[in-house]
């Protein structure tokens, strides 16, 4: 509980209907400092802005929401502040390094200015973009051409100054990406080189910004599921689950037992294949191509299973609000066991090749180190944070779907280098396999969807035979699931870390606002600082080990 915060600011805050503490914008910095230093809330989950243009009875048009977790990652606190017509507030980058990019995103998407921010400029949209797309009065289809890429010198020059470089003559500037095989397609890192060493680095993202959040505001709740597939496309089903989980939280429904277990099984399988593709890619970046085949072929087998189950290989859209699209097929268990066996074999073969491999050790150990405190301050989560030795796993600290009853271990690293991040993932593959086996044994019979036809579709037999069923179907398809008004954040443990959705509903079938808390975004913000002082080849491995997925990063 935030005792000091409550005691010191008692007279200055009010609590709104959804449990958020509302403060004036002048007090936010002080409040966050008290929370961080005295109440032990060291972890900034996310910051986002809200445009209340179409909502009545709000004091101002814009508000900013801050989400924090405490040191045990169990309690979440929400602070909210309204922004007056000056459209400016204090930056909190002095307290949380993770706020740097988050605030830039708010400036880019909403046009709210942050005073004393070190480098307030666009981050997702290009330099020539005019306007702020997530404002409610920006038309969704108004695209704007970009003719020239940013040269990033405006960010690089001050950065070089802090490192003590007055002239740029002895340095060589190089772009790693955005079209570079090791930059995974869409990430650009602009580096200043002294020989082979990176003295300064600046990252630019947004090359795959696809307007997820704006699209959400124009579709019904179930129509958003395919969009979530394409956030982290290596583990589409986990995104489905995270999103459905958040909406179900607003609805206040409890899933049937069978649905929970199926979500655990398929979710963990997604986690495995996500880790497989991450490890395969980083080993290729290292030049160990053989391992790619060992790790990628089992994934191919999982694709076959998912095609049978969901009809799609990669973007499955398997979940629905209040359940899933259909039940497991006959013979699923047999296929699943075959998949797990092949995964185990592939991982075993790979480990045989690299476990005692001198080259592998030299390339990964003590490379790209990030300390515990820094990682928390920068908002890293998931395997990247666990590699630093912080036992933060939402499946343990805030269990959902009966995770507390499964017997599994958290994989922890000790140094926080590339080696740890990779080995944590190898271990998590094993642990996920354990969870799947336990869940398969305990899988109960029963329904897979909530038995409430205001949420899930009625059986087709009813649609064709009685008017009630027909109307339910019609309403759900045309208007969407009616979700009561709420401002709500809920997260699950995604493959890359805390994957949360902050959803604002207004009672209609379409969300008023959806904000994803993408784990990659914060990992990527930390990346330029991690690689400064190392070599180019190490920078490539560091990027691979953080498992940056552009779809989730840029949304």
């Amino acid at each position: 509980m935030p005792k000091a915060f409550k005691k010191l600011l008692e007279k200055h805050y009010t609590i709104d209907a959804y449990g958020a503490y509302i403060l004036s914008k002048e007090l936010i910095l002080q409040a966050l400092q008290i929370l961080q230093e005295e109440d032990n809330y060291p972890f900034l989950v996310d910051i986002t802005a809200i445009d209340y243009l179409h909502v009545k009875n709000q004091p101002e048009r814009f508000a900013i929401v801050y989400l924090l977790r405490d040191e045990n990652f169990k309690n979440l606190i929400t602070l909210k502040t309204y922004i007056d017509s000056s459209l400016a507030t204090q930056s909190i980058t002095s307290l949380f390094k993770s706020a740097n990019w988050a605030e830039r995103e708010i400036w880019d998407q909403y046009g709210i200015h942050f005073k004393s921010h070190p480098n307030l400029k666009r981050i997702l949209n290009h330099k020539e973009f005019k306007g702020h797309p997530l404002r409610k009065d920006y038309p969704i289809t108004q695209g704007q051409l970009c003719h020239k890429s940013d040269d990033l010198m405006d960010e690089m020059t001050p950065r070089l100054k802090t490192k003590g470089y007055t002239s740029q003559e002895e340095l060589m500037f190089l772009n790693l990406g955005p079209a570079h095989p090791a930059s995974h397609g869409t990430i650009r890192t602009f580096v200043a080189l002294d020989g082979e060493n990176i003295t300064c680095a600046v990252s630019e993202i947004g090359y795959l910004h696809r307007g997820f959040e704006k699209s959400c505001e124009n579709h019904t709740y179930n129509q958003i599921i395919p969009y979530t597939d394409r956030l982290n496309y290596c583990s589409a089903i986990l995104n489905n689950i995270a999103y459905a989980h958040a909406v179900e939280g607003i609805l206040g429904v409890d899933l049937p037992e069978r649905a929970k277990f199926i979500r655990v099984i398929i979710g963990e399988l997604s986690r495995i294949i996500d880790h497989l593709v991450c490890l395969a890619a980083i080993l290729v970046d290292m030049g160990a191509l053989t391992n790619y085949w060992y790790l990628y072929n089992p994934r191919e087998k999982v694709y076959d299973l998912l095609s049978k189950l969901t009809g799609a290989r990669l973007t499955n859209s398997y979940m629905r609000i209040g359940g899933m699209s259909h039940d497991l097929y006959d013979g699923f268990e047999h296929d699943l066991n075959a998949c797990l066996k092949e995964i185990e074999q592939g991982v075993g073969e790979t480990l045989k090749l690299i476990e005692h491999n001198r080259i592998f050790h030299d390339r990964t150990q003590n490379v790209g180190i990030i300390t515990k405190e820094d990682a928390i301050n920068r908002g890293l989560t998931g395997p990247n944070l666990r590699a630093c030795g912080v036992p933060y796993d939402l499946r343990v600290s805030a269990p959902y779907y009966h995770y507390e009853t499964f017997d599994f271990d958290i994989a922890l690293g000790s140094v926080g280098d590339v080696y740890d991040r990779m080995m944590v993932r190898f271990e998590e593959i094993k642990q996920s396999t354990r969870i799947i086996h336990q869940a398969m044994q305990r899988l109960p019979e029963g329904a897979i969807c909530v038995q409430d036809h205001a949420i899930s579709l009625p059986p087709k037999k009813e649609v064709y035979t009685n008017i009630e069923g027909l109307m339910n179907q019609f309403k759900l398809i045309y208007e969407g699931v009616k979700v009561p008004p709420m401002e709500y954040y809920r997260a699950i443990e995604g493959a890359n870390g805390e994957l949360g959705f902050f959803i604002i509903s207004d009672g209609s079938g379409t969300p008023y606002k959806v904000k994803v808390r993408p784990p990659c975004f914060y990992a990527m913000a930390a990346y330029p600082r991690i690689i400064e002082g190392s070599m180019i080849a190490d920078a490539v491995l560091t990027l691979g080990s953080l498992n940056i997925i552009a779809g989730e990063l840029d949304r």
């Binding site: 289809t141 695209g143 704007q144 051409l145 970009c146 003719h147 095989p181 696809r210």
Partner: protein, 172 residues
């Protein structure tokens, strides 16, 4: 009954036209530049892996340098921010070059009908083959490859591809 040179040298010699010989060489040794940005690129990884094995068509030499490639495969969403980069890479490729636009996003923007996504890459560069799907199955990628081979087989060397007239929105 063979005549001419083949009658003299037997089976150690074939007479054919230069056109078909060069086309045959081209179509069985394409060097793709995979401009992979998103989900489609993950599917392309499957195409390159052992199950679907793009090297059956002689196109496994995936290169990330426009100077070493003659087939540009655009796999993934192209945003307005990415467009100038894609155009630059296309311009840097040497003739003769071919382009596959793979997946709904590259072909038309897909279901990202919004302020940030380019509504089809053919507004900035010319496209030879479009592949449907979101993402396309690996078989669809291979099918596109076969389509490109057909184009190569039917086009004569005398047709100068560089002389094609195309004006996109980013062409000044």
């Amino acid at each position: 009954m063979a005549v001419g040179a083949e009658a003299i040298f037997g089976e150690s010699l074939i007479t054919t036209t230069l056109d078909s010989a060069i086309s045959w060489a081209r179509e069985s040794s394409m060097w793709p530049y995979i401009f992979g940005t998103a989900c489609c690129a993950i599917e392309f990884m499957s195409v390159a892996s052992s199950k679907y094995d793009i090297s059956r068509f002689g196109a496994e030499v995936v290169r990330f340098s426009p100077r070493q490639a003659d087939l540009l495969i655009i796999a993934g969403t192209i945003s307005y921010k990415q467009a100038p980069i894609l155009k630059k890479i296309y311009d840097q490729m040497n003739e003769p070059k071919w382009v596959i636009s793979a997946g709904a996003c590259a072909c038309s923007g897909g279901f990202y009908d919004n302020y940030t996504t380019l509504q089809g890459v053919d507004s900035i560069i010319p496209v030879d083959v479009y592949v449907a799907g979101c993402p396309p199955r690996p078989e669809a990628f291979l099918d596109a490859l076969l389509e490109i081979q057909k184009i190569q087989a039917t086009q004569s060397l005398l047709e100068d591809r560089a002389k094609r007239v195309f004006k996109g929105v980013l062409d000044a």
